[in-house]
Each structure stands twice: as C-alpha cells, then as structure tokens.
Amino acid sequence: MRNPLIKKQFIEVFRSYFVNQKTGKKRTKGKTTLFFFLFLLLLIFVSATFLGISYLFLDLIKGPKEFHWIYFAVMGILTMILGIFGSVFNTYASLYLSKDNELLLSLPISPFKILSSRIVLVYGLSLMYSGLVWLPVCALYYIYGGPSLLSILLCILLLFVISLFVTVLTCVLGFVVALLSVKLKNNSLMIVPITLAAIGGYYFVWFRMTDTLKSIVSNAGAVGEGLKKWGNVFYLLGEASVGDVKSFLLFTVISLALFAVCMFLLAKTFLFISTMRSGEKKNKVTFRSEKKQKKISETLIWREFKRFLSSPTYMLNCALGTIVGPIAAVMVIVKRQVLREVIDIFSIRFASKVEDYLPLLLTAVIMLALSMNTLTTPSISLEGKNFWILRALPVKTADILSAKRNFHLLMTVPTSIVSTIIIGIILNLYKEEIIVISLLIFFVAFFEANAGLMLGLRRSDFNWTNETKPIKQTLNSLLILLIGWAIPVITVGGYYLIDRYTKLPITSFIFLCILLVIFAAATYITDRWINKKGVILFEKL
C-alpha cells in the first residue's frame, strides 16, 4: 500500500489482530488466524440472518423473470438502509473526530488527501456492511433464480457500486451529524434525543422489515411500477442485477457522479468542520450547595455517565440494549392479542410444549437485548490520555472498576427487569417463573459487565486516534458480542437438547434455576478475578 495515510488507517483498524496492544509484541500466526476466524464467524452469522430474510422473496424469484429485478431493487434498498444506519455515526467520527487532525493538517498534505484517505476506510466498511446483505441476496438468486453468467458478473460488480452509493449517503449524513454536534456540543439534552431517534428509526425499519417485505412480495407488480416511476435509480439497480448492461452502466455513472459531488462538497468544508469550535456562550458559573455533595462511588459513576453522554458513538454501539428491552415490552403490550392468538394456535398443536418453552423464549429475548449493552468492554481503553487522572486520585482501584461495572448495570438491569416482568405478565407466566427469570437476567447482565471489564483489562489500548477504534473495532468488542449471543443460544438450545435427547426429568423452570445457579457462580468468580487480578492489571497499565 503506497499511500501512507491509507496505510495508517488500515493499520489502526487491524493492528490488534497482529500485535498485542499491551506488550507491543507480534501475535503468533495461530492467534491471528483464530481472531480472524472469530471475525469471519460473526460475519457469517449476520449474513445468514439476511439469507433468511431473502427467503421471503422465494416465490418472486421462482416466478416470471420480468419481476426478478424487483427482488434486487428492494434488497438493494435494504442493503443501503442498513449500511447507512450502521455506519453514520462511525463515519462522522472517522471523518472529523480523529485526534490526529491537527498533526495531519500541520503536515504538507492537502486536506483533500486527508479526507480521501478517511473516505477509503469508510468505503471499506461500507463494502463489508453491504456485502453482508448483498452476497446472500445474490446467493439465493443463483440457487433459485436461474441467472445468466452476465447477471452473476454484474451482481458481483454491483456490490462495489452499491458500496459507493452507501459511502456517499453515509458521508452526507456524517457531515450533517458533524454540523449538529458542533452546534449542540454543550447540549447533551439535544444530542441524546437525536441519537435515540436515530436508534429508534433503525429499529423501526428492522422490526417492520418482515411485514414490509411480505407486503412487497404480494404486491410486486404495483411496487415495481412505483419503483420505475419514483425510484428510477433502484429500478436501474434491479435491472442491472438481472443482467442489463445498459442499466448497470447508468447506475454506475450516477453513483460515480454523486460520489464526485459528495467529495467536492466534503473537501470544500473539511477544514472548516474539523477545526471548527462551537463558539459557546459564556454561562455564569454556579457553585454547588452543600446538600448536593456526592459520595466517591456516586462521583465515579457520574463520571462514567458524563463520558457516556459525550459520545454518540459510545451510546449507539454500547447501550442499545437499554431501549431494546422496553421496546420489546411495548410491542408485546400493543400486540398482546395477536400474541395470545399465536400462542393458542401453537398450544393446540404442541400442547404443553408451548407453556414449557415460553419462559425460555422470553429469557432469550431479554438476553439478546442484554448482549447489546457492552459498556464496560471499551471503558478502560476509552480513558485514553486521561488515564493518569484516575491513577493520581486517592481512590481504590477496585472502586474505579466497580463504578464502571455499576454504570453498566444501571444502564442495563432496571429496563431489562421491568421488561421481563411486563412481558412475563402478558404471557401469563407463573410468578415463580418471572422471579427466576428476573434473577437470571440480573446475573447474566452482571456476568456480561464483568466479562467486558475483564476483556478491557486484559486488552486495553490507550493509543487510539479515534474513539471508534476502542468502541467497535477491537477484538474485545467482537468477543463480548459473541459471548452475548452464545448465552441465549445455550439457554434455548441447551434445554432443547436435554428435552429432545435425554430422559432427565427437567422442566424449563428447573433448567432456568440451574442456569441461575451457574450464572450466579460465574458472576462471583469473575467478580473475584476483577477484585484481585483485575486490580493488579489496572495498576500496571
């Protein structure tokens, strides 16, 4: 790689795979391979989800060829939406918030080159996100749609063009977020709702997706006409995917033209935005009254909270579970009638099995929400150059680590438990079941907070230039995600295996009780590790 700026960007992203961040020593080939394998596993898991979604179009793909383009047009839109929502805050941070802004701007490099090197990374990420959706979409079509060789070739090429389209849209949105963030720098009360609205929008699209896609499939003709009339770009994308070279060229030219315009606008404003200060108004200094004096533990948690509120990237990537649980609860309340009907239908078919599996399914749903909260994982690395403050203060290391864990729990446990109780009541679970599930959720959240902290302590990295790196581009963030997903899989899968293949007299309630004991023990063990080895590790950092 000749361009040193691009090389620097990619080294920063992939360094942890090749080099131990703490010791600075090269990892063994085996370890590097293992880490890449885990990353690949995650990609395959996400891709498989989209393969499942693509199956909704099976009838359309198997049907007349003149409607096949609709499949690609709709899935192309989905690819773009997910790519954009997934990386808009990341793009904002990558383009404008790097800590090496001043260093690079002081070097004899044009701002355009700095911007371009960052956009190459954004494009790389867009390519990855788009590929996660687009490749399974193509794979399904190759199996069932009987595509021509030209169609296969164009579909592969289109992945690169779609990624360019996604890059344009994320860069423009990133630009808007940058402007908003600068204007609202000191007003978290504004930033938080905007961020939450973005998260809400993302989940609205996600949860409505199956219904929307089904409705598109059943009204394919009308949707096709609509796309031709109002979404010509997507019509071109659809036609190109089924082998129309003219549409492919047109779609490519449009994407390139949009990219050129975007680059021009971003280059014109890059220096202004990346060096802009909010020009805040001087407010009157207010002193705290005696009544408000905080304890040390409260002060440390307050510090974590301030750090959390200061970063949309941190909020968006490490605390989604805080709102996902309540959203699930609200959805269950709203759709309780439909849910009850579904349960009744299954009850007729599978009799007591439904009643037996229902508590496990509820637990798994809440556990999935818990897995989205990974606040402790990057919290050590996020101290960055401020780490000296914590080390210089007269505070026990164990208290600092407790504050990080307790903040994670405060952000996770209350909403999860309330959601569990609400959904449990609506599903007519027994009181004992709701209590055991709530306790289990508490211990799983506790365990995950500890596990994240352990990972953070073992593999901390203070030398980042962009906070996106410790938040979402490390092995730690990948590992904690896999741990979070493994727990609900083990919960439902474990019981299924016992139920199906053994004759042990274990009901789901007993199984949940066993899990409760296991996670309480795991929490105790990890807590002890943090208070002994974790404290030593922290003090050696």
């Binding site: 720098k185 000191n186 805040e280 002193f287 004096q293 040390i296 002060t299 401020n386 007269p394």
Partner: protein, 234 residues
C-alpha cells in the same frame, strides 16, 4: 515530607530510574532537572502513584506509597507536563469532580475554587467545556484542581510550560505560600533560570541515576546552575 529510597523503575530491559534516593523536607521547593528521557517524569509519576516501580520505596509524610497509596495520594497533588483533562466536562464540573473525590465540603471547595480561579483568571471560563480550552487554560485548571484539597506535597512536571507570564508569577507566589504553611514542592523543569531563583534545593538526574543533589550552593558552587548542569551532563 518526601523521601525516596533506592527507587528503581524498569521499562522492559531499560532502567528508566536507577537506585534513586532523595529527601524533600517541609518548607522546601526542590527542583529536579535533567535532559530529555533522563527519568524525571518517571520519578514524578512514581511519587504520584501513577507508576508501579520494581525496587525501593517512596514515603510521603512518613507513609509508604507501596503500603498505603490512598493515604499518600490524599496528601499530594500531581500536575503533569501535558494536562489531558476530561474533554467531556466543563471546567467547573472537573473541579467539582476532584473535590468530590477528595471529599471537600461544599463551602470550603467553593471558597477555594473562587480563590484560585480568580488568581489564574479562569473564573469566567469555568462554565465552558474543557475541549474548548487552550493548552494554557487546561494547565491553569489542572493547577487549580491540584490546590483544591490543600495538599502537603505538590509534585509538578514542567509546571510553567504553557502558562502566561502573569499565571507563572501567580504560581510561583502560591508555591511560596504552600511552603510557608509547612508544605513542600518537588518539580521538574528545563528552565534553569526559574529553578535557580525559585528552589532552595536541586537534584540533577542523568540516564536514570541521580548525579548531584543538595542546596543550590552545593550543586552550583560559584557557577550558574546552567553552567553547573552542562558540566555535569558532559
């Protein structure tokens, strides 16, 4: 007030500080000089409890940093050479945070914040976020936060870098006040003129080893500190 006994700190195979022993008495302003990479910052960070060290011990007011780091940290204040403070807090929030950690009652903390913020002309900026501060303003804020709990020992790494002349003068006055009240100051600097005028004692470190320490007269003799330092460095 400060007693360093045979301090040794190793980074990998390199000895950053090698068997360093030194004593700072109450009422003393003690300068610490040496070339870049000599081991000054490592020594100061070890005193402040930021770095763990391999050998030796450090005593603050008779208490060992190794056996009771929390008590030691309560007695000292550390000001680094490049104060990276919490960008996500306002100046006032940062001072409140430090005061909360040191459990300073509200009336006393308010009085001290007002006093030092006025001295360093930062009162009007305390409501602003730290990310909007200049280097000098951050340095001033770090200094104010250091004085909030009235430490017995102040450990400073290049405290005058980035300060405007008025703030530097104010800091020197406060340093004298601290010593007059029975406190002690141990600070590193490359500005030898300042060290010569301000300090009663001075220590010279080279490649991690203390090569000379004592009163200004003992170290410099008839020469200036600059000449003595350059001779020692040869």
């Amino acid at each position: 007030m400060l007693k360093i006994e045979h301090l040794t700190k190793v980074y990998g195979d390199v000895k950053a500080v090698d068997d360093l022993s030194l004593t700072v008495a109450p009422g003393e302003i003690y300068g610490f000089i040496g070339h870049n990479g000599a081991g000054k910052t490592t020594t100061l960070k070890s005193i402040a409890g930021i770095l763990k060290f391999e050998k030796g011990d450090i005593f603050i007011d008779g208490v060992s940093v190794l056996s009771d780091p929390i008590s030691c940290k309560k007695k000292i204040a550390y000001i680094p050479d490049n104060p990276d403070l919490y960008d996500f807090m306002t100046g006032m929030q940062f001072l409140e945070f430090i005061a909360d950690i040191f459990e300073i009652p509200s009336d006393i903390r308010n009085e001290r914040i007002k006093k030092y913020a006025d001295i360093f002309e930062l009162t009007g900026d305390l409501s602003g976020v730290i990310s909007s501060y200049s280097h000098g303003m951050k340095q001033k804020l770090a200094i104010i936060s250091a004085f909030i709990h009235e430490p017995k020992l102040i450990v400073m790494d290049e405290p005058f870098v980035g300060l405007d002349p008025k703030a530097a003068h104010s800091l020197k006055e406060i340093m004298h006040d601290v010593c007059a009240a029975g406190g002690a100051i141990f600070f590193s600097t490359h500005v030898l003129d300042v060290a010569e005028k301000l300090c009663q004692k001075v220590a010279v470190i080279k490649n991690g080893r203390l090569i000379k320490a004592g009163t200004m007269e003992e170290v410099t003799g008839d020469e200036s500190l600059e000449s003595a330092f350059l001779e020692l460095e040869e």
